[in-house]
Symmetry: C2
Subunit: 593 residues, 2 copies
């Protein structure tokens, strides 16, 4: 109850706009300025943060060394922290926020400290890691890493971040970066709520974004920018829906025809080096990349390279044989398919292993009609198909486990097909039924939540199909299946673990927010993701309820989200606006009902 009072006050003073909201947070009203030469230590050792001055063609240039090498074996906890400190201080010093949009019109001066006041500086940032990282810290199973952190800033300018793991410290640095503002003059960077004491930890262990990089092509830079933004929001998983019916954008050296014939264009595919770069880029930011190769459905594209492996390839009418064109599924009783998958997994899984505990084999939307056209099956009967699917899944999961990885599947494998799954398997729901999450838990399996009615960011744009003049009236006004748009308030209202017992909750690893790419590509992806994915991020980190058990209020969230959005824009991500400026300036008393 005490905490909710703190937040009530925070809301009206606009001073404590952290996102996601920490578990515990107390603050005062003392102004501190951050010293341009703030001394940073990590477990007592000096952290050499940039900018470092170089000579370039006779001119001095400041360079921020914010990126590690892609050689993962070179990583140490120290090198990860050093790069993170550099990114954090680069953001604090060069991408900070003059918060004029967050205070009443022409009244920023009431919030800002006087530019010419005597300054007390934050002169040190002391980082202490109380535990020791292991290899699992950087590629964890859900729950394997303690991500908690503490952050304090004293009135005399001593900042301290501590955490059990380096991952927790990364989160603490993200929080640190949200505490500061840029003065509207060149007076510097300040915090006006010292002393600060924050104690924080996530509610859910698996906090992910699933992004479809098959249906449209995304360059590596688009993915790394997404990773940056995820880290700002304390996500820790990036699920890459790598392949689907429409394209195969991943080079597989053992099966080169896959991307040569299946990429949207030769060259528009990720090389092994690209994948490693993405994985390590994420890893150094506390994010684990999970690669999905969806099967046996959504595999038409494999037929471009290996037509003998696919049943119902391009079958028409397509809406009989698949949810989206082009149709085609891996044959279900084919030794050639088994051989193909063994080769495929043997190639990919060792490249996954250094960076992730998981491998995702999909399993959604298997279309039974395709197997009528599959000469190895010739049936659409569940009684025929189920044992074949079980065999298919067992083969995959055995190979995944043999490579030291844990399988993830879409919920249909359990909820629709009732297959037997290992206890290790994570079952990912997307809201096939309203009880999807509970059904998985009731079956005793670990679950990832997510729901097309709440957390599908692609919904509400309308149909992506074109309609003939003859079918026009049938589909008018062209709403999509998961309309309406999931605006941030709807995303924020999702509460899949309501009314669960502690025993049930123990099976919930966390969840993922989703972006399918039928109508999104690199030009629009930042706007489609942000700030709506941030709303999911707070549910995943902080939970739907506050410490008093009340659902978090839009009136509390809205100004904080608006501030986060401005910070994200300043950091180079084109997040959409939360509200018009009038509302962000006056949110407490206006723009609400």
């Amino acid at each position: 109850m005490w905490l909710s009072i703190v937040w009530f006050c925070a809301f009206f003073s606009f001073t404590q706009a952290l996102w996601p909201v920490p578990v515990e947070f107390t603050s005062g009203n003392t102004v501190l300025w951050i010293a341009p030469n703030v001394k940073v230590t990590y477990n007592g050792g000096n952290v050499r943060w940039s900018p470092q001055t170089y000579d370039k063609n006779g001119q001095t240039e400041n360079v921020w060394i914010e990126q590690l090498t892609t050689n993962t074996s070179a990583y140490t906890s120290h090198s990860i922290i050093e790069a993170a400190v550099t990114r954090t201080l680069k953001t604090v010093f060069t991408q900070n926020l003059v918060p004029w949009k967050l205070h009443p019109r022409n009244e920023l001066y009431k919030f800002e400290p006087a530019a010419n006041s005597t300054k007390t500086y934050i002169s040190s940032l002391t980082i202490t890691q109380t535990g020791t990282d292991t290899v699992d810290t950087f590629k964890p199973l859900a729950g394997a890493v303690d991500e908690s952190y503490n952050l304090t800033i004293t009135e005399d300018g001593k900042a301290v971040i501590s955490g059990v793991s380096s991952t927790g410290i990364l989160h603490g640095l993200q929080t640190f970066s949200q505490l500061f503002y840029q003065h509207s003059t060149d007076a510097g960077i300040y915090i006006n709520m010292a002393p600060v004491a924050i104690s924080d930890a996530p509610k859910f262990s698996h906090r992910g974004l699933n992004i479809d990089i098959s249906r449209n092509w995304y360059p590596v830079s688009s993915i790394t920018k997404t990773i940056d933004a995820l880290s700002w929001n304390k996500f820790n998983r990036l699920h890459l829906h790598m392949t689907d019916a429409q394209s195969w954008p991943m080079d597989v050296p053992a099966l080169p025809e896959l991307s040569k014939k299946g990429a949207y264009q030769v060259g528009l595919s990720y090389s092994p080096a690209d994948i490693a770069y993405i994985q390590s880029y994420a890893q150094s930011r506390g994010i684990e990349v999970i690669i999905e190769i969806d099967m046996p459905g959504h595999t038409s594209v494999i037929g471009l390279a290996y037509p003998e492996l696919i049943a119902a390839q391009d079958a028409q009418p397509w809406d009989t044989y698949c949810a989206e064109p082009p149709c085609g599924q891996l044959k279900l009783n084919s030794s050639a398919v088994d051989t193909f998958l063994e080769t495929l997994f043997d190639d990919i899984l060792p490249r996954v292993y250094p960076y992730s505990a998981y491998f995702h084999t999909g399993g959604d939307e298997v279309n039974v009609q395709d197997y009528l056209l599959d000469e190895t099956v010739q049936s659409n009967l569940t009684s025929v198909l189920k044992p074949l699917l079980q065999k298919f899944l067992d083969r995959n999961h055995d190979q995944i486990r043999s490579k030291g990885l844990t399988p993830i599947v879409w919920e249909e494998m359990l909820n629709t097909w009732n297959l037997t799954l290992g206890d290790d398997v994570l079952v990912q729901t997307w809201g096939v039924t309203p009880t999807s999450v509970h059904d998985v838990v009731a079956a005793g399996h670990k679950v990832l939540f997510g729901d097309s009615s709440f957390w599908y960011l692609d919904c509400g744009k309308g149909q992506w199909l074109d309609f003939t003049n003859e079918s026009f009236q049938t589909y008018y006004p062209f709403a999509d299946y998961c309309s309406p748009t999931k605006n941030w308030r709807l995303v924020y209202s999702y509460d899949p673990t309501a009314n669960m017992t502690a025993e049930e909750l123990a099976l919930v690893a966390g969840g993922e927010v989703h972006l399918w790419s039928e109508q999104t590509d690199p030009v629009s992806v930042e706007y489609m993701l942000w700030p709506r994915a941030s709303a999911a991020g707070e549910i995943l980190w902080s939970g739907r309820q506050d410490a008093s058990g009340q659902n978090r209020s839009q009136l509390d969230a809205s100004p904080r989200l608006a501030e986060l959005r401005e910070r994200m824009v300043n950091r180079g991500v084109a997040a959409g606006p939360v509200q018009m400026v009038f509302c962000t300036q006056h949110n407490a008393t206006e723009c609400s009902l």
Copy 2:
């Protein structure tokens, strides 16, 4: 019928992807390359198009002189054409499209000419203007300018554009820029459908975008970029909804307090020089800027500077007194208001006159309850308010006419209040009722169409208000009043003049597509406008029906729009994708129902 056959073929060959579609278009299959030194003439005189080579610090730099000075008196038809030719050839040579997304996977080679083939070059572009521009060409009333053009390219490489007005020639140059592709090697820029013969003219005279630049702040660069994109789509009007309740972003030297107190922040307002720059930037691109100062509603912001002029300022509960907070309306029977408006108009209108035939005084959503709180009225009765509104409108319109301008009002002034309007007045509908457009025409008035059910690009994002936990269930799932999203197919289906007689049609000046800014700002505006506004652009230029009287098909439009979108992205505008690449590569046979 012949034309529709042409288009049927075009659809399957993907070769004639012009947007908006011209009235007449024939083409062949001869390949031509555009000569890097193509000679351009205008009425026999040489057109000096860039790039012109300059020396910069010892290094050669190519500079494209694509922008005129802002001194409108320096404009000539020749200078406008010269700048337009430069922009066109800059686009053709440096921002062109390798159309891999528009042809089947890995089959671009079937479309492209061989890189090493013997080349026939387009060596000349001959521009002929058959009429003479007058001052009205550059600030026309609807219908005052002949915007038609003809464009031919012969098989031996002679390109010709002719038009009655320079405006028509600008449109011809836009079409010209859409005929070329960049080769995937460095072989050059080609057209593979010579000979070409295009004869084209718009269906509607007034083809506009209305953008709300009050509720969020847009820098000048955001507006000029919008003007560029409008010109590519053959729009000819930009309606700036300049002021609303939330902010006053326009400096008025005679009333400096308006922007000083009413801008979102001091400095976030357009100076007279900014406005002139926007107006002339548009004018040189064939686009007339129309400024709206909305009144008597939507004027709360005036109260920040002149509280004595506003009734019901910030009245609560706001949903009783206005459609959006903050509430407040100009008092309706106040000599102080009259004096204020006379000063305001005396300042603004002479700055409008060089660039536009119109001035828009709004008139939407007048809230009668406010006048109960207006000591000059003290009534909410129509019988009391109507004569006062008539007097208010007459005063405004008299002054507008005295400055040589023509008034525009929102439809409520006629359709709701049944005021007496001059025959010169343009009445802008937004779909207050389904018969809005017909009602205006039936009353014998000139009309602009537009409809919140079709052409409101802001719709479908969900509510922008925040809801308390108490009101949460009432508004869940937070759909906005004009949901669903107007996707491009819905925009494209709008047909406000269906079943009109020729006499009725004569009163239809054209229409406008709208973007209100509660949830849009400069970060997201390009994505919010494009390519959906393009769909409105084709309805305005080409009409909902083809030459045979059939409604245009999504299957014809979709690949053309997808190509336009790629061109827009290459030209620097972040238009959203029309479909996933699989569909743009295979649209004819897949991705439709």
